[in-house]
Symmetry: C2
Subunit: 129 residues, 2 copies
DNA sequence: GTACGAACTAGAGCCGCCTCTAGGTCAAGA
DNA sequence: TCTTGACCTAGAGGCGGCTCTAGTTCGTAC
């Protein structure tokens, strides 16, 4: 049932270094259980939580803010409004980021089109057309 | 016609520090002209180029790759295929990034919905409903 | 019994991208 | 004349997020 840090690394794509780092940074919802020899034993819950943290990181949430969120979850019931606030704020930021990326993509696509046309015209001239 | 570094900073949103940094990093398509006292005088072309660089940076292109692209442009005609390659590769990366962000957004939106429901249910219970 | 592999801790190091500092020049206004 | 403020250079510093090192401790396999 329990997974070693190496297995979790493989499953999540994080490095074992990163896993220990995240733990030290306090972004695990529950303390990781330790097996014989003081080795970490992760539950499926831990891994699920990590997957969410990965999503939050991937979408640009800074580690300290993930920690804030994690702490609220650790505190238990009663602070759902604060958790909601954090998530909503982040949601807005992600939407903004996507809009900005779309703008960039539009520009890049425009330029790619221009260069493609140019390169094509050169190529067709080269075959005598 | 020419703009000072401060004006360019204001127009582009970059800091004067960043502008000098970009120049040192070699990501300006043409050498910036200098006015009396060795002060930089930017043309509209410079600013347009900077705007494109900002787009590339915003969308995650690393400074060294912008430099490579810039160098190709500086070299002049004949390397359009290489420029096209860089842009296409970056285009792919931006699309991937957007897809990943969309996944994150979906998860966050799902969680926001759950918390919103919960918070609403608490609120309506509080007014005796 | 020794070699290997995987884990452990604490803390240093690295990378990318700026940002800031120190020490200076210059022009215009009070 | 003196101050102010925008600019200059070179180089140091800072921040976020890991990543790596050093030095151990285990448990299992040869």
């Amino acid at each position: 049932m329990g997974m070693s840090i190496g297995e979790v690394a493989e499953h999540t794509g994080l490095s074992v270094h990163a896993l220990r780092f995240y733990e030290k940074e306090g972004i695990l919802a529950h303390e990781v259980h330790r097996g014989p020899g003081g080795r970490r034993v992760y539950t499926q819950q831990d891994v699920d939580w990590l997957r969410m943290c990965i999503m939050l990181r991937m979408s640009g949430m800074p580690v300290p803010e993930i920690r804030r969120y994690t702490e609220l979850v650790r505190q238990g019931d009663g602070n759902e409004l604060q958790r909601l606030d954090i998530l909503k704020e982040h949601q807005d930021r992600v939407r903004e980021q996507m809009a900005r990326l779309q703008e960039c993509l539009d520009l890049i696509t425009y330029k790619v089109g221009k260069y493609q046309d140019y390169v094509n015209s050169i190529a067709s001239r080269a075959v005598g057309q």
